[in-house]
Amino acid sequence: MSKTNYTRRRVLKTGAVAGAGVALPTIFTAQSAAAYTNEPTGSSVTLGFNVPQTGPYADEGNDELLAQQLAVEHLNGEGDGGCLNTFTSKALKGNGILGKKVEFVTGDTQTKSDAARASAKSMIEKDGAVMINGGSSSGVAVAVQGLCQEAGVIFMAGLTHANDTTGKDRKANGFRHFFNAYMSGAALAPVLAKEMGNDRNAYHLTADYNWGWTQEESIVASTEALGWNTVNTVKTPLASTDFSSYIAPVLNSGADTLVLNHYGGNMINSLTNAVQFGLLDKVVNGKDFKIVVPLYSELMAAGAGANIKGVLGSMNYNWQLQNEGSKQFVKSFGEKYGKPPSNSAQTCYAQVLLYADACERAGTFNPCGVAEALENFEFDGLGNGKTMYRKDDHQCFKDVLVVRGAENPTNAYDTLEIVEITPAEQVTYAPNHPMFGGDEATLGTCNAGA
């Protein structure tokens, strides 16, 4: 008979220590599984679509929302599947994301940074959104990207063209599919040289805010590299409606080219005023006067009407692209809404699908896992051709379109014609390029939140 010397107290003590020891890994595991903001626990996952529903870009926001709704439909296996049929990644099966049905909430950015942050915050905190997508302004994109970084959710930017979004203001939780001002300059320059020559005198009218400045800087650098001379760069207040007093000095400046670094209503009005003053009918320095609008959108083209005839610009996407992804997207969007998609619609649609696909490939909604899956991800089939999400700055690199206002549009939608598809290599730059914050620009570290 053996004799044990265990006392009741000792057994209890040992049991407690052993129990804690066994439970410890489970506690850590459970904590890490819940260690990101808005982890979906039910049968659905919520995405937040933050677009301008009121204010001057409401039409653009509405187009983005249509595309986002279409993307959700396709993710949930409804409709014709859209670009799930052409996307080179086959992780998405049309059964939601990671088996969870996709739902969405919407917010109104009003194209104001504070309002956009407030609506994004509400969608994250009250509605449990795991990702925020959309927007039509770089100011809004930078503000919301900062908020998402702090909150620990992924931000898939909508239409934002300023270099800063993936330049000095880049964030680990933020991703931009849309092209940027540098790419516009790099894509436009060879076409400008080909069509207008290397000895032009350019006069810039620039919207006086962050996007306008980076746009001007990029185009000035690209055109001066061609040999062009910059006659003047004039900043115009964002609230300007009548540009006649800015156009009049162009007439006597010796400039033979006007570059309008304007977007939206600014661009429509400044171009209309420039055409009213007969600039396109003038001959200066023995050359036909030309106007360049570096950033185009279909809605701006519609607003500018006949004034855009022959005017060159650049775009992220145009529905007339004939690759398989584009044809599929135009078909899905066109059959559902009766019109071709705009480039802001396409970028939002692509971003929603890219996020969902990254979740599937990462096997988690954890933003850090999703970010890792997106970094250096190469894909095709979403409308832009071969594309890569660069790890260093979370900027997509793909072909850029140079377009021109159509001379004889046959319907309301072919107001722009594609002049050239500039290959991605030609618009690629170093992650520490001076226009993008130089060596000091950093993504920081991914924040998973809670």
Partner: protein, 340 residues
């Protein structure tokens, strides 16, 4: 020299819009004592009269053209305006082309109706209330009106071009031996504004109705004691002021494509014009409108913005401060107005 003249012309053009809006504002304030913050919205509704008629004239029937394809590859739906089928392609196209000037015929009754409904339906209930209440209710009305327009027409500006015959530029300096190109439609706009302003002054100066209104503006009570229904006349003046703002909007549509927010863009500046001109002074409103338009134009030149950065954004307010400091009643303000 020609750059200098160009800026004066630009200023006169901009000033025309300010003067027409400020004239209406002053008429309403002088007659009814109401500070109408919905006046910019009336300018916007006028511009959308032009947009509406243009769209109305382009209402089309659809035929299928099997030989052409739309963006989805389906047979193209070709739209032909009804006016072209009713009056023939050439006459129909000409009617569509002249839709903006024709809109004046639509805008006059529409704006009078809008003015009457606005005054009788809402503003008359605020005559005896504080100016702050009037400002709040009319500002609210302006927001409602612009949201209604946005609902039906969208937020994007809508291109509303002038007739082809009035497109392009004229060389105003040709008679003097130098080049001075100026857009034809802007010349038309200035002449039209001058005509409307002259018409309003002539109406007030040379008609019995105008004489009664002027008397009412000077001493409402005494005119009432003479047995004249001055309220009815003032209501009509409100409708006329709405009409003036609307006509300014109609003709402005080809200068800058109308959008739902355009009224607000002009409203604040027009109020500054009224204050600088002198509350209740009709000639003051016109004078200040043109003066501030020209100053704003010069402040936007490269020379001005390089010398004093940001001057283009503050010039009007700067002038307002200087005028009010030196002449508290404005340039041509009347004693006793807003001086309780």
């Amino acid at each position: 020299m020609d750059a200098f003249i160009l800026q004066i012309l630009n200023g006169l053009d901009k000033g025309s819009a300010y003067a027409l809006i400020a004239l209406g504002l002053t008429l309403i304030f002088g007659t009814l004592g109401v500070v109408n913050f919905a006046h910019g919205a009336l300018f916007m509704i006028g511009a959308f009269c032009a947009v509406s008629l243009s769209k109305l004239l382009q209402l089309s029937y659809v035929t299928i053209d099997e030989t052409q394809k739309d963006f989805l590859g389906n047979p193209l739906k070709v739209e032909t305006p009804y006016v072209e089928s009713w009056f023939g392609p050439e006459v129909g196209a000409a009617i569509i082309d002249w839709s903006v000037p024709l809109s004046i015929l639509l805008a006059i009754p529409v704006m009078i109706l809008v003015g009457l409904i606005m005054e009788r339906g809402l503003i008359k209930h605020f005559y005896k209330r504080e100016h702050a209440d009037q400002i709040l209710v009319t500002f609210g009305l302006a927001i409602v009106l612009q949201e209604i327009v946005k609902y039906y027409f969208g937020a994007n500006p809508i291109q509303t071009p002038p007739p082809d015959a009035l497109l392009g530029v004229s060389n105003l300096g040709a008679w003097f031996g130098f080049e001075l190109p100026y857009p034809n439609w802007r010349i038309v706009y200035f002449c039209f504004s001058a005509l409307v302003i002259a018409g309003v002054f002539a109406f007030l100066q040379f008609t019995t109705f105008g004489m009664v209104v002027r008397a009412g503006m000077a001493d409402r009570e005494t005119v009432g004691l003479l047995g004249i229904d001055i309220d009815k006349r003032f209501t009509i003046m409100f409708a006329i002021a709405a009409c003036v703002a609307g006509l300014a909007g109609v003709m402005y549509a080809p200068i800058n494509p109308p959008n739902y927010h355009m009224g607000m863009d002009f409203l604040v500046l027009s109020f500054v014009v009224v204050v600088v001109g002198g509350m209740g002074s009709l000639p003051g409103a016109v004078l200040a409108g043109f003066m501030l338009g020209i100053l704003e134009s010069f402040a936007s030149t490269t020379w001005a913005t390089t010398t004093l950065p940001g001057i283009n954004q503050i010039i009007i307010y700067l002038v307002a401060i200087i005028v009010l400091l030196t002449r508290p009643r404005g340039l041509m303000g009347r004693k006793g107005v807003m001086e309780e």
